[in-house]
Structure formats: C-alpha cells, structure tokens
C-alpha cells in the first residue's frame, strides 16, 4: 500500500464518522454555489419572458430560493471548514503519538542507528504537511466526483446533447487529475528538498564553524557554497511553481473552452426548439460555476509530490497499529537478588555494516554489591557493553542474564526499575526541573525532589532560581554548566532504587574536583547496588573492586 494511501486509511480508521461527515457537509456549499447561479439564471430569464407576457412566474419562490441558497452556501462553507479541520487535527494529534511510539520501538530493536537531528526535524514538519491529505485531496476529490456526476445526471435528463459539453469538461478534468497523479514530477520536489537541506546544513556549519573555516577552507567559499545550494533551491522551486501556474491556467482555459462548447450546443438546441430558453440560460450559468468546484482539487494535486514525500516518511516513522504498548507484568523479586547480578556469556556484537565485531566471545560477571570497572581505549566497545547490559542493543550471539534471568525475557517496566544508567551526558528535557526529575519517579513529592537535588548539591542552585522546581531548563531557560547537568542526572538517578547501576563515563569532560565530587555523592547513595563502571580515569578505576580491561583487537598504529 502506498504511504499516501496508508495515511488515508489511518485517518479513516481513526474516526470514520468524522471522515464521512466532513465530506457530506462539504457537499452543501458546493451544490448550493452551483444552484445559486443556476436559479439566478433561470429567474432572470423567466422574469424577462414573463415581462414580455410569455411566461407565468411566481416571483417570490425563486427570489427566496436565491437568498436561501446564498445563505446555505455561506453557512455550509463555514460548517465544512470547521468539521474537516477538526477531523484532520484530531487525526494529526493521534499521528504524532504514533510517530513517537514508532521511534520508541526503533531504539529497542537492536540497531540503534545514528539518529540525525535533521531527519527528526523533517518529521515534525512532515506531520504538518499531512493536513493536506484529507483537506486538499480527499474532500475536494469526493466533491468533484459527486458534484460532477450529479450535474451530468441533471443535464442528461434535461437535454442529453447539451450535456456533452459539461460531460466533456468533467471527463477532461478526470483525465487531467490522472495526469497530475502520475509520479513523474516527484523529481523536482525531491531536488527542492535536498537543496533546502544542503542550505541548512551548510548554514549551520558556516555559523558554528567560523573559526575552523577561517583556517580550513575559507568563509567566503562556504558562503558561496550556500548560495550554490540556494541557486538549486530556487531553480527547483521555479520549476514547481511554473508547473503549478501552468496547471492552473490550463484548467482555467479548459473551463472556458467547455463553456463555449456548451454555449454552442445549447444554442443549437434552442434554435431547433428542443430546449426552452429558461433552461438554456440555466445550463450556461451552471457551466460557469462548475470549474470552481473542480478547481478546488488543483492546489492539492499541484502539491501532491511534497505531500507524498511527507506521507512516506511519516508512515515509515509511525507505529503500525493505533495503540501499542500493553500492560506489562513485573516479575523479579527484589528480596531474592541472586548472584551474579549481571552476567555476560560469550557475547558477540557487530554494528551493522562493520567488518569486524566490536565484541566477540566476551564474558564477565558482576557479583552482588560489587563495583566492576571496565577499561580500554576509546572505540574498543566499552559503551557497547553498557548498551547491551541495558538492552538498548541486542547481542547477536551469547547470552546476558540479570539476576539469573535472561535479559531478553524481562518485562520492560521491571528491567527499567532494576537498572539505572548514568551516562556521559544526561539528556535534559526542555521542561521544568520537576518534570525532568519525575521522569525517574512520576509519583515523587516535591519534598522528595528537593531531597534528591540536595543530595546532588544542586538544591541551592535551584532554590536560587525564582521559579524553583518549576524552572524551565534548556534553550531560553536556566542554563546549567556541564557539571551541574551531570549532578542533575545524579539527582534523577537518586530517585530510583535499582539493583544495578551502569556508569558510562559519567565523569567525562569534568575537571578533577567536580568529577571527585560527583563520584563521592554517587558512592553515598548507591547503597548495596552493584555497579558496572565504564571508565578510563584513574580516579574512577581506583574506586572499583575489580578492573576488567577490554582488549582492543587492533594494534596501536599511532606511535609508529
């Protein structure tokens, strides 16, 4: 199923009632608009004939009908917009959730790709672009279809020959849409996006790397490279916009061409006396109103390739089924923590695409309460061990057990409350201090949060800020230094009560004094939990009960 169709099906399944009612309501203004012009034409012709004494006319009915149609068209349009937009936004809200689920499922599947910020950025703008699927494609398409068929049916009943002009226009419109739906224009949309991306990446590099560029490569050359990308962007944009303009004018011309054809056919019928002038005029006015309804689909179709790209990425990024994540049951009994707490048996792991495995036939145990330091030069797989132990990566061979249970079989909730990972740089959310801490323990009271902050020697710093626990961290908020961020990570960890801590180069990038402080505080609250410490600093290694050197397979080529 094409991604675009998948999005349509998802929206349909999300709420069939909203999906249908939007379309049904949208028919009111479309039909009222056509009827308004038709009735007006009929009315003035009838009036003219009645004025000549050729026609008996009850004037109040049609003039009331004209006003009623004018109001129906306006009110219907308002109702349609509200309904269709609401339905779309409800669906997009749901889609955001599914995309989050999809991304979450991805980090556990053992591949852990180097996630790119640009791809994520694009994902959010893609979700926005997907409002076009229902609003600009589905609703106008159904409108065109239903309106076209109704008008053709009416004309065929009235004067089959005159219907040829209108039918010709509808058939032409369908063929035109079919042509636009063809995949041949996707290239320009892709080029435009690539150029936009190149421009963004190069701009970021130019601004963030001005010192490096001044020495290596030159600033003007970089600015010039951005303008090269902008040139490609403008060329692709020009192509797309020029094509859209051509579509629009082609469509406009076709509408008028078939209007002229209808005029000739209607005239021929009237000359032969096969069609009363009242209906002839009505037909011509209906023919003038029809292109507007069919034209509603053109903008959506002109933008189709952009929408398609967005649909493909969003559909790939989202979770297949609507509600993932069932309840999981906890199972490890804390009281009976068995030795060894963590055990690797002949574990093998290779990153996708890498020639040699990072780990092969790797085994070790960590006893209850023990601190094991894992050392080795950078790039030798220390962090891979940490990722496997915390089930962010799955080994390709061997087995890992936690408290005697196979790591793969432990329910997620249980696993997370059994292991706490303290990494190089804790990820701090652009949210309040309290929200950042409660990630570890949602039910924590403010007192508990303060205790954790005090424990991490951050209490004074946060109390000093005006909004206290409600202080927002990150961009536009409270800027914490590297050491303070690490300590907030500690505070977060303090709120958990795990059986095993994994410290992954926790003091990396901290100066000696801060590093010692962070380690001391950790020692204070870790209690009898075991610790797997990924380390390369003497100070860290000295604290371990046991040191395990991770042999690097490659030889040191540097010195020679």
């Amino acid at each position: 199923m094409s991604p675009l169709r998948r999005i349509v099906v998802w929206q349909w399944r999300h709420s069939p009632a909203a999906f249908l009612s939007g379309i049904v309501i949208a028919l009111i203004p479309a039909l009222a608009g056509i009827a308004l012009l038709g009735v007006a034409g009929w009315f003035i012709t009838a009036a003219a004939l009645a004025g000549l004494g050729l026609f008996a006319l009850n004037v109040f009915m049609p003039s009331a009908l004209i006003r009623a149609l004018a109001i129906a068209r306006t009110a219907g349009r308002y109702g349609e917009r509200i309904l269709t937009h609401d339905a779309t936004f409800r669906f997009l809200t749901n889609l955001r959730k599914r995309i989050f689920q999809g991304q979450a499922a991805r980090i556990g599947d053992g591949t852990r790709p180097a996630r790119s910020g640009a791809a994520l950025n694009r994902l959010t703008s893609d979700i926005q672009a997907l409002d076009a699927v229902y609003l600009r494609l589905i609703v106008p398409a159904v409108l065109c279809l239903v309106t076209g068929l109704l008008v053709i049916a009416w004309v065929l009943k009235l004067a089959p020959v005159a219907g040829l002009g209108i039918a010709g226009f509808v058939v032409w419109g369908a063929a035109f849409c079919g042509y636009l739906l063809k995949n041949r224009h996707v290239e320009a949309a892709r080029r435009q996006e690539a150029a936009h991306e190149a421009m963004r990446l190069r701009s970021v590099d130019l601004v963030a790397g001005r010192r490096d560029l001044a020495v290596y490569g030159g600033l003007e050359q970089s600015a010039h490279a951005i303008l090269k990308a902008e040139e490609r962007l403008a060329a692709a944009g020009e192509e797309i916009e020029a094509r859209t303009a051509r579509f629009l004018s082609l469509h406009g011309f076709a509408g008028q061409f078939f209007l002229a054809v209808t005029l000739v056919l209607v005239s021929a019928l009237m000359i032969r006396g096969n069609l009363a002038p009242v209906w002839g005029v009505t037909l011509i006015l209906v023919a003038t109103a029809l292109p507007e309804v069919l034209g509603a689909l053109v903008p959506g179709l002109a933008n189709l390739q952009r929408t398609r790209l967005a649909a493909r990425r969003a559909a790939d990024g989202a979770h297949e089924s609507d509600n993932a994540g069932g309840a999981e049951v906890a199972s490890i009994d804390r009281k009976t923590v068995t030795d060894p707490v963590l055990s690797f048996r002949s574990v093998t792991f290779a990153y996708p695409g890498a020639e040699t495995p990072v780990l092969s036939d790797f085994s070790f145990d960590i006893a209850k309460g023990e601190t094991l330091a894992l050392t080795g030069r950078s790039g030798c797989g220390k962090s891979t061990v940490s990722a496997i132990a915390s089930r962010l990566l799955n080994p390709q061979g061997g087995s890992v057990t936690l408290c005697g249970q196979d790591l793969q079989t432990i329910p997620e909730e249980e696993l997370r409350s059994t292991i706490t990972v303290l990494g190089q740089k804790p990820y701090l959310f652009n949210d309040t201090v309290a929200a950042n801490l409660r990630i570890a323990m949602p039910a924590a009271t403010d007192d508990e949060l303060w205790a954790a902050l005090d424990m991490a020697a951050l209490g004074a710093r946060i109390r000093g800020s005006e909004s206290g626990l409600e202080t927002v961290l990150g961009e536009g908020g409270l800027g914490l230094s590297g050491g303070e961020q690490r300590r907030l990570g500690l505070a977060r960890a303090y709120l958990t009560r795990p059986v095993l801590f994994i410290l992954d180069e926790m003091t990396e990038g901290l100066d000696e004094k801060t590093a010692k402080d962070v380690l001391d505080r950790f020692e204070e609250f870790r209690g009898d939990a075991s610790v797997l410490m990924i380390a390369h600093k003497r100070m860290e290694i000295d604290r371990a009960d046991r040191v395990l050197g991770l042999r690097d397979a490659e030889k040191s080529l540097a010195a020679e």
Partner: protein, 589 residues
Amino acid sequence: MTGSAAKGAADTEGQEEPVADLVPAEKRLVRRAGWLLSISDLLWIGQAALLSLVISEFVAGRPQAGLLTLVAPAAVGFIALAGVRQWLGLRAASAARSAARAVKTRVRTTLLNAIAHSSPAASLPSSGHVAAMLGEQVDALGPYLGNFYPQQFRLKIVPLGILAATLCVSWLAAVILMVAGPVIPLFMALIGIRAKAASQGQQEELTRMSGFLLDRVRGLETLRLFGALGRTEAEIGRVGEAFRTGTMRVLKIAFLSSTVLELFSALGIAFVAVYVGFSLLGSVTAGTWGAPLTFGGGFFVLLLAPEFFAPLRAYAAAYHDRAAGLAAKEKLQELYSGIVAQGLQSGPPEGSAKADEKPSAPAPRQTHAPEIKLDHVSVTFGGKSIIRDFSLEIPSGETAILTGPSGAGKTTLLDCLLGLHRPDSGRIFIDGKDLLTLDLGRWRQEICWIGQHPRLFHGSLRANLLRADPDASTEDMMLAVRLAGAAALVESLPRGLETIIGEDGFGLSVGEKRRIALARAALRKTAGLILADEPTAGLDDQTAIDVIAGLKKMAAGRTLILATHDPKLMSVPGTRIELDAAHLSEASA
C-alpha cells in the same frame, strides 16, 4: 494596508540599508504582474458581453439568429479571449516569480556576506537560528512579494473596472455592488484583528508543540532507560489535544472572517439577480439610464457580479502571506543589524581570494617556520582586559608552551595570532612583518591550527580533510590520520574515509573529533606554524599519549605554540610560558 507596511520599513530607518525591501527593478516586476493580472480579469467583461449577446437573442425570441453567423463567431471569440487571459495570467505569474526569486537570492547573499565578513570570533545567534532565518524566513518573503503584492494591485484596479462596466448598464446594480463591496473589508478587519493576535499566539504554540515532540524523541533513550515511555506517550497526546483545541479556537475566528466575506459576496450577487429579475418583470423601473433594463443587459450584469468579488477573495486568501512576510522581514532585519553591529572586518578577510576560486592552497614551497614576536600586546574583549602589555619572542622552529589557569588569555592569544582579534595596542610581527599588513586569508592557510572545540563539517571525512589541503592524496591523508592516532578510528567507521560525518552525519565523540581535527591540521604539510589549543582535553590517557607523540612529530621543523594545562603535555620540549591571570590583567581584577 500599505500604511502599516510603510511603517514597518520606517522602523528600521536610520540604521543600515533595509535587507528585505524591493529594489526598483523588482518593484517594476511586481507592478507588471499586478497589471497583467488585472488586464486578464478585465477581459472577462468582453467575454461576458459575448455570452449575453448570444443568449439575449434567444430569450428575445429571435431563434432565426444563425448558428453560424452569431453563435459560432461568438464562441470562437470567447475562446480566443480565454486564451489571451490565461496567457496574461501565466506572464503575470512568471513576473511575480522572478521578483520573488530575485529578492530571496539578494537577501540571502547580503546576510551571508555579512556573516562571512564578520570576525570569526564575534558572537552570532545560534547556528540553528541563523539557518532557519536563511531558509524558512527568507522563503516566507516569496509569497508575500510574489502573491500578496500583485493581488493588492489587482484589488485596486479590477473591482473599479467591473463597477464601471456595470455602471454603463445600470447604476442601481453598480450601487448594490458598491455597498456590498466596501462593507466586506470593514467586517473582515473587525474580525481579523482578533484573529491575527490569536493566530500569532497559536503559531508560537505550534512551534512549542513541535519542539516538545522533537525533544522527547531526542531523549527517547533516557525515557526508555527510566521506563517513562508510556507516560510520555500519554503526555504527547495531552499536549497535542490542547494544541488542537487552541487551533480550532483560532480557526473559528479566521473562518468567521472569510464567512463574512462570502456572505456579502453571495448576497451581493443574489441582490443583483433579484434586482435584474424584478426589472425585467417590470416591477422595478429605476436603476438604468433612461431605457428599461434589457435581458442582455441584466444577464451581463449578473455575469460580472462574481468577478467584482473575486479579487477581494483572492486578496483575503493572500493576506496570510502578508503577515508571514512582514514578520519574516522584521526578523531578518534584526539579524542583519545584529551581525553588522558586531563590526564587519574592513575589506574582505580573504584578501584577494574570489568566492569562486578553489580554497586557496598553500603556495607549493618548502615549509618555512616563522619567527613570532609579540610587542607589548594588549587585548580587551567585551569590556574586559584579557591580555595586558604582553611581549613574547619565539624564534623560528622553536616551541612555546603557554600554561596557566583558564581565563588567563591563552585562547585569546592564539586568536590574535590567527588574526581573529586585533590587539588594542601593541603589535604582532611574523618574520618581522606586522600581522596587520599581511593578507589574513593567505596567512591562515599557512597555519596548522587545532582549536579547543574543533568543528568538523557535514560531508565525508575525506572532504573534511581536504579542507586543509585540496591537493592531498589518499596516502597523505592516511599518513596524517595515523599521525593523529586516529587510524583505528577511521578503519572502524562504516565507510572509512568516505563516511559522512558532521551535522546530520555519523556521530563522533569529542575525543574522536579532536583526533580527526589533528589529522586535518597534520595534512597541511607546507604550513610552518602550529597553533594547538588544549589538544588533549577529553582524551583518555592512551589516546592522549598517541596524540602527543603525533604532535611532537609534527613539530619538527616548525614553530609550535601550545596552550594547555595537561601535565602530560609538559613532556613536549620547549619554553614554558606561564600566563598568570593576575599578572596579565591585575588592573581589571
């Protein structure tokens, strides 16, 4: 409408030239687009006349009117006019596009020139912000200039033309249109003011919500490690729902304003129809210039009525482009003024280097280790005296190790040698020549520089290394990589030297970046000066030892200035110069 646009421009007056205003050539193009669009619209009057002519013959009961003598020529004329109209429309679109494209390119060029010519040590807004400005914000100028402006022009011409044509047939019909028309902007303005404030808030809300989702997806690993995925999912749903409610509130107001527009245009058409109908019946006799309204005249007026309102609707639809465009204009101006306020370097920093030239390669000559002399140099930065009256002489090929606590001015000193800062007093001599007289672009090509936070650029590892020396061979690169202790690292990358790194590429750790940066510096074989700023920070012992060994090798036959406080680096032979913050800037302390 134009009044507030002019006001926006006036706000920025008195500074430097406004970045996003139209130059005369672009103004001409936009005006041309407006004219073409208007003429195309006004040709409908001719088409409507043809249609009414044909139809009135039948209604008047003259079916003898020939199919060939009247209908066919009228139909051909109608189609010909339609062709001309579409052609004019295409020309208008093309003129508007050219204008928009020219403006966007010009604004980007101006901003990029300002960035390229500001000092690399100046502080600019975050790179993401600048990239968004150059991208989306400049893009927002396009619809504003290419769509809104011509529509505004059209609005001034077309309704008047239609009104004039209607007036020729019936003054009462013209009055109906005249009453319904101007009432619309009034009501729309009343509703629109509220909608504008609300929609601006909602736009920020959207940015915030996207940011929220992005932030949570980025922190997925953390959320997973703390078992907080399910809770976050619920939160995303809640935030999204709140956003939807807010959006719908804004849209209800926005839709109301377009509903008013449509109601009045529909009522306007309906009243014209009713008036025409009753005139033809004979119930209304007023409204014309003497003779009673004919069917042809009535039909003609009815056909014109929708076209009277069409430009208004198009203008209302384009009004959103105006808001976005004006906001973008303001932000771009602010960014530009901010950059210019930092001070542009007088004359192009790259000297005579043209933008299209390849990154100027170091002149192919023997490595020459320069002699460096600082003569009573003082540097103030951000109002703080960083270096005071500092003198230093490093003979050709010697090594100087700058030590001292952070904040003592080590990095500032290196920046001065790179020509990123200009000393407030005192002079810097390179081989006896004043640094200020040198072509800085060329001078920087003769330095192996290893910064404290080296930046690698989006592209392959190879492309990154080639920035140091565009003519380097693969062997040269591997040699440099080995020297930097990064051979194992490069081999472990998925595609070796071809691996895409940097922004949006394979993530390298701090230590890995530093080693690649060292390799980049080592590739500059003909450069005679090495400036290294904390080259071992963040490296584990073993890697640091490798890096130091590489640095020692590179230093042979070169002048080396090393800023560090890593005791391991003290094994590098050379003169130790203790930079003491107190000694250098006692006055400011």
